[in-house]
Amino acid sequence: MVTNTSNGGASSLGLRKPRRFDPNDKRIIPGLLITPVQILLIVMLIFPFVLEFVISLTEWQPIYGDFWDAFNSVFTQKINQGISYNYLVTDEPRYLQALGRTVIMSVISLCLEFVIGLGLASLFLKKFWGKRVWFTALLTPMMIMPVVVGYTWFMLFQYNGPINQVFGWIAFSPVNFKWLNDATLAFIAVIVTEVWHWTPLFFLIMLSGLNAVPENPIRAATVLGASNFKIFWTIILPNMKAVIIIAFVIRGMEVVKLFDEIYLLTRGGPGTATETISLYLYKLAFEDFRLAYAGSAAFIVLIITVVLINMMLKPIRYQLVEGR
């Protein structure tokens, strides 16, 4: 029994401390439990991370042959090191544009998702017929996979698709928006798709936030004659601050990765109008096969995202770790 749980008792009794490895030791078991995930992440995350940095110092491309030669050349020869990084920042406007575009796209879609999600959530505080069914229906877009979302909106945004038809009804004359062939319209199309896909998540988070707002201050304010807007601004919003931050951070983490929908919808086109950073990296690496160059671009992105996301996580770090 004693040896089975802890060795503490044995040494205090002056007995010889058992030297053998005891997997039930309180100091050993957490390490053992975490080992598989550490191995998985070191092999699949840290190693690629280092590898990416090393190849980004070369000019290797698949057609140049064996990867290891390029790998060794980093350590043996002193040429070309960091040339990709210089080039990226000074001579590649597409890269910086893609970064900027990703940020703009993310901010616009997150704000729209927030407003629509909060609006719908506030409706669901009231009583009405068929609430559960409508609730499930509103959540459906979230469960559909990104590729199918991209494809569905590709159908809808066709030149002769239903969206133009509906706009035509509203305008009383045929409308011929070339959604996916016009720079601005394509940008809007991507945002609409993204908003459609992820508003349900904001809706869910906001609903749980609204439900947690205490009722008594609201009743008191109503009795004292506060307007609805005043109640919302001074009672509901401050109470939901934590939830709103969580929603923005978590969605912000995901939205900068946006790839699948755009890939199916516009492939970054027309031109580079909807080319987000993921699309740009994909084109560099898997259409131009400039793997080393793409590696250096990706490495910068990795650094930026990790730093930014850690900054964004700071306010909710405690809540995430404690979790109760």
């Binding site: 089975n4 749980t5 078991i29 957490p30 390490g31 975490i34 598989p36 995930v37 998985l40 699949m44 190693f47 991370f49 629509i116 719908l120 409706l123 505080l125 009231k126 009583k127 009405f128 409508w134 229906a137 509103l138 959540l139 459906t140 469960m143 559909i144 996979m145 990104p146 590729v147 199918v148 494809y151 159908m155 809808l156 066709q158 002769n160 698709g161 239903p162 508003t199 749980s208 609805n228 109640i231 969580i246 929603a247 983490m253 790839f259 699948d260 199916l264 990296l281 690496a285 793997l291 990706a298 490495f299 992105v301 995202t305 990790v306 996301i309 809540q319 770790v321 979790g323 109760r324």
Partner: protein, 311 residues
């Protein structure tokens, strides 16, 4: 504001939201049953005049369509160029011996294996973090780092790493399973951690007092008690794995296929876009997701917010 009335204006807003949410899904369902001639019309066809299942047959049982057209020897355009209303008309001919089954098989194998791997690994890590505070704040956020990277940035070194010379697992099930598990393990760890957190530690301590070892207490007390949470997490991770597109796109060629990649292949067909067939495949691929999602509806928000929001 629980006492507020549901005004007609609210009703309009709800209706608008519902139409926005449902219309694209309706359109996909409708397109998947359309005849070939109705795929691209001006003005668009909303509901097919003669619904057909040929689109589904093309991806699931092309043999039936082939038999209907008189067998493979006529495979070509000469015999039936005029059959415009036949969903298996000219353009599809090339797809008739390329059903979606390899993709479905690949998706099922990879998603299920990766989910199991991710859950087992994640559950162990979750117990370690939640019960023993392993690594303080650092380890949980180190695990989360896997979710912070844009997948494309990590896919570039994957291509080199999986290629010949290092691991040599490009275009194998194993390679994709490990890659998928690595990107979903942050979610499984964090979501399971939130479930373990909710379980009072005293229950395990009681079991240990009764003579269970720590491992046995975790395995026979903790795990069964958070069974519901584990099932919800498993289904949630399954959704994530089933939807994964980028890794399958860059790490597979011909041996291994998944549904998203198959869908993309029908998409880039040189014969023209096969709207109905793609819509049918999209339907087939999202039906499991919607069923699974319906079951774990109340846990979705917990999963997607890494356990920060419980309801």
């Amino acid at each position: 504001m629980p006492d507020a009335k549901f005004t007609p204006f609210n009703m309009l807003a709800l209706l608008a939201g519902l139409i926005f949410a449902i219309f694209p899904i309706f359109w996909m369902v409708s397109t998947s049953f359309k005849l070939r001639s109705e795929w691209v019309t001006s003005p668009p066809t909303w509901v097919s005049s003669a619904p057909t299942v040929d689109n589904y047959l093309t991806i699931l049982a092309p043999q039936i369509l082939l038999d209907r057209r008189g067998g493979t020897q006529q495979h070509g355009d000469e015999g039936f160029g005029g059959g415009k209303d036949d969903a298996a008309g000219g353009a599809i001919a090339d797809f008739l011996n390329r059903s979606a089954w390899p993709g479905i098989k690949g998706s099922v194998i990879i998603s299920i294996s990766a989910t199991i791997l991710s859950i087992v690994v994640g559950l162990m890590a979750a117990i370690s973090i939640s019960r023993y505070r392993f690594g303080g704040n650092f380890t949980p956020f180190f695990i989360l780092a896997g979710r912070m990277f844009p997948p494309i940035a990590i896919a570039i070194p994957f291509v080199i790493m999986f290629g010949p010379g290092i691991f040599d697992i490009t275009d194998t099930y194993f390679g994709l399973i490990v890659a998928y598990a690595a990107v979903t393990v942050p979610f499984s760890t964090w979501m399971l951690k939130s479930f373990v957190d909710e379980l009072p530690q005293e229950i395990e301590e009681a079991a240990m007092m009764d003579g269970y070892s720590r491992w046995r207490a975790h395995a026979t007390v903790t795990v069964p008690l958070i069974k519901g949470g584990i099932i919800a997490t498993t289904l949630f991770i399954f959704i994530l794995n089933w939807s994964e597109f980028l890794f399958a796109l860059v790490l597979t060629y011909t041996n291994v296929q998944t549904i998203p990649v198959t869908l993309n292949k029908y998409f880039s067909a040189t014969e023209g876009t096969l709207y109905g067939v793609q819509a049918a495949l999209a339907m087939v691929s999202i039906i499991p997701l919607i069923i699974v999602g319906f079951f774990i509806q109340k846990h979705l928000v917990r999963g997607l917010t890494l356990g920060a929001i419980k309801r």
